[in-house]
Symmetry: C2
Subunit: 223 residues, 2 copies
């Protein structure tokens, strides 16, 4: 190995193992043995395990946010005055994720799973890192969502966005396993693109559901 493809091999192995098992459950020794590099290489190149986790995220998140930013530019250019619709915004996001150059066939699945983990596993350092580095494109997405759902209150919108993120991250993070189950059970093959195509209408309908009047949790609620 001429020069350090060691760094990339570590990142590849770490990415895959983190996605499979989570952060705490993945040891540096697993990573380095999968990457076929020396154990000390991680601390030499990245400084610490936490820094490696952040590097894994930076490697796919930075190009993604660039793609996403131009997708939003295109979208806003097409919709001169009126704000983009909810469906258009969601499709722009989905397209950017699906069309990302992938390192391997599992690319999009790993991508989503890691995003889910970042939310779920409460790694303080990761949350701070992501907030510091990527708050801008995320904020732009939120702004578009806000303009596309003017009838929602801020609180309603906040929660529905969480529901949306949850459905997406969860489904995509285990989409390989889910696809397999479906194939065995119903004999149907499904691509990630098709899952996305089913997901967008679901999310769109959920986001635009009729607003409930709180508090609804009385005995009559269940009658």
């Amino acid at each position: 190995m001429a020069q350090s493809d060691t760094v990339d091999r570590i990142l590849d192995a770490a990415e895959e193992l983190f996605a499979e098992r989570g952060f705490s459950e993945t040891s540096l020794r697993m990573i380095t043995s999968k990457a076929k590099v020396n154990l000390a290489a991680v601390n030499y190149h990245f400084g610490s395990k936490n820094a490696l986790i952040q590097a894994v995220f930076a490697r796919f998140l930075t190009p993604f946010t660039v793609t996403l930013d131009t997708a939003f530019d295109d979208l806003e250019a097409r919709c001169k005055d009126v704000p983009p619709t909810l469906e258009q915004t969601l499709w722009a996001l989905t397209e950017s994720a699906v069309r990302m150059p992938q390192r391997n066939e599992k690319g999009i699945s790993i991508f989503m799973r890691l995003l889910g983990l970042a939310y779920t596993q409460s790694q303080g350092h990761l949350r701070k890192f992501l907030e510091a580095e990527y708050s801008n494109p995320f904020g732009r997405f939120m702004k578009l969502l806000k303009d596309a759902t003017p009838d929602l209150s801020a609180v309603d919108r906040y929660w529905r966005i969480q529901f949306m993120l949850g459905a997406t991250a969860f489904t995509m993070s285990s989409s390989d396993a889910l696809r397999e189950i479906l194939e065995n059970k119903l004999g149907v093959e499904t691509s990630v693109e098709e899952i996305a195509a089913r997901l967008v209408p679901f999310l769109s309908a959920g986001l635009q559901a009729e607003i409930v009047v709180l508090p609804p949790m009385t005995d009559e609620t269940f009658a």
Copy 2:
């Protein structure tokens, strides 16, 4: 302390710590020192850490499934011939969760968080345990969902149920953090009951969204 409230003190402490930090991130020493019992007591009473995790789940899941089963009985009794609607089914589930007798004020939050963790943190032993012990009530819920959405194809329903589970598990597994963010940002306090009340209409609308005609993923899709 006359006889073994040691077991309950261990379960209480473990439940709370697991919900706060996850399974791998919680050590037996944290649990025993919080419970103010001896370290060896865990292995004496439960045999292993994994067995303790399963015991924590069994303690709240068993009464919950009993409650849920009677809730489904009531529901089907009220709807003599016609199958219960989607909203009714979802509310029956939500009601059973919210109305569960709680050990303390954090009860329902911990309950949800643990369920989310069970899905998210891929603890092999836990998944097997839950499948072996609680597959029946889950199957009944699926049957009700199927009867409530007769217009959906099996494939569409399959994916939309995944989306639904994802939104729920994901939101609930980090609901404390999400609640905090919302409180800091908008100065609004939200109870778990209110989250559930917002979630049900979202899921219901998503499940009943118009069915898309595949394949929609052409360049024109994004135009």
